[in-house]
Point group: C2
Chain length 264, copies 2
DNA sequence: CCCATTAATGAGTTTAACTCATTATAATGC
DNA sequence: GCATTATAATGAGTTAAACTCATTAATGGG
């Protein structure tokens, strides 16, 4: 509102006064790739908020406007950078998973892989969780889709284990997934802030251990302490029930599933 | 570098040209409280990045500079707002926890409380997770301290249950805490982005169920005071029995155990 | 070697965080 | 009730960074 006329002699808008230095032009693809490379470095080093477009341009020896030719906003640039990173990460994902068998091994691999990514590239992960995931446009992002695919594998493995009777059926699958990935992330906060370190191997093993014991049919070791009469009786019944459940489910999965489901 | 002399007649720096409207002064405390109130509303409505100081000032009928008298930066204002909110949240925390007994109940209360906070004030929670927690200054924040106190209670409850033999001893306690709070948060992401809803009660129950089964001693806690363990096992057996009865009714009752048979 | 295409420029504008010399209000002392 | 004083508040800035666009010129196809 308080714009003031400072000089009433406006030079014609794009009039050039100095000769331009020799300019080398790159193909669109090449320039875009260069910009994303540089942007990634700056975003990781400074974080999104403190990253400055002119610094990215400066690294490439180009001018800010050139970047805006390819990326309409700073945020679009961020999204492109993160999407590219995520795509690379997940490139050989299914291939690797194919080579691993057994519920426990497969589950541990998925968790370990996730933790390894965080460990290897904490700055990028921070961009995802701190900047992207909170935004209203997150769902329009391919990161969202890729992430869904990613966690869906986990759900599928747990689901299969339930069907085969390895896992109990009365457990909310979504929450299992949430606790795995949420737990992994929560576990790495301190590291992500630059405080100390963590071990992807140890953490994956810990998570898979808790989940496994939590979902396993209540197989109990024999115990003869006082009060064990009831416990043993229940344990025996649990075991019988589990066997029967398996039989019932393989006979009529539809009925079995819909009746044992409690929460969605 | 390219600052240009626009007008060579600089008016003396703070010279007043217009008479000021009548100004009412508030005490420092009162003004700070008002600013924080207003800031909270704007931050929640727009998010930190899109919130504008001048809008906060406008709501109060004051000028931007007044806000900067009390809060050196926009971020400091955010931190103050979040700290205040968090302090209120945790005010009666220990009091409430004191009235709850039994590992399972206490654990569920802590989780439920956390989920309830998210459910009741998602925008504030987003400020904490999206803006504050990622920052390098998070640890200097009292939110950090309060959060530590908060999750420490959880750890204490689990630790005690391990000592009493209710929980198994070979479990990494930190990871249990991480899976509880990380899982809770992961579970609420969609809601936090404004997609759909979630039930704090159901979610808390689901989390506590998984954790409980995962940590329960293999001997199923012979001296469990409130009988929660046995009750859970029995409840599960009852539900399985009901289900089996239903399956049996709709089938040839004389058919015994057989190998599972695949059907379409 | 021309010329159409389009990469790149550079000189802006706009917006929003932040600063500070000055003003004048409300509390204090007499 | 009046002068004094401490300080709340102002308003007119500056600065920085995202973003725009008319113009320029490098490049590759003919």
């Amino acid at each position: 509102m308080h714009k003031m006329a400072h000089v009433e002699s406006p030079p014609v808008k794009g009039a050039s006064l100095h000769p331009r230095r020799r300019v080398y032009r790159l193909s669109r693809e090449r320039r875009v790739a260069d910009i994303m490379d540089s942007a990634r470095g700056v975003f990781c080093a400074k974080g999104y908020g403190d990253a400055v477009i002119s610094e990215i341009a400066g690294q490439l020896g180009i001018v800010e406007g050139t970047i805006y030719r390819y990326f309409p906003t700073k945020r679009d640039l961020l999204i492109a950078v993160v999407e590219d990173w995520y795509r690379r990460i997940l490139a050989d994902y299914d291939e690797q998973l194919k080579g691993i068998s057994g519920t426990r091994n497969r589950l541990r691999f998925l968790i370990w892989r996730h933790l390894k990514v965080i460990h290897d590239d904490p700055a990028m992960f921070r961009l995802v969780t701190g900047e992207l995931r909170g935004g209203a446009d997150y769902r329009t992002t391919s990161v969202y889709d890729m992430n869904r695919q990613y966690t869906k594998r986990t759900l599928a493995i747990v689901e299969e284990a339930v069907k085969s009777g390895e896992f109990r059926a009365d457990v909310p699958l979504r929450m299992v997934r949430d606790m795995i990935y949420g737990g992994a992330e929560h576990h790495t906060w301190a590291f992500l802030r630059g405080e100390g370190d963590f071990s992807p191997d140890a953490a994956a093993e810990a998570i898979v251990g808790i989940i496994y014991r939590g979902l396993m049919g209540a197989d109990t070791a024999p115990n003869s302490e006082n009060g064990a009469v009831d416990a043993q009786a229940i344990s025996r019944l649990e075991s019988v029930a589990r066997r029967l459940e398996r039989v019932a489910e393989s006979r009529d999965p539809r009925r079995g599933r819909e009746k044992s489901r409690k929460q969605g």
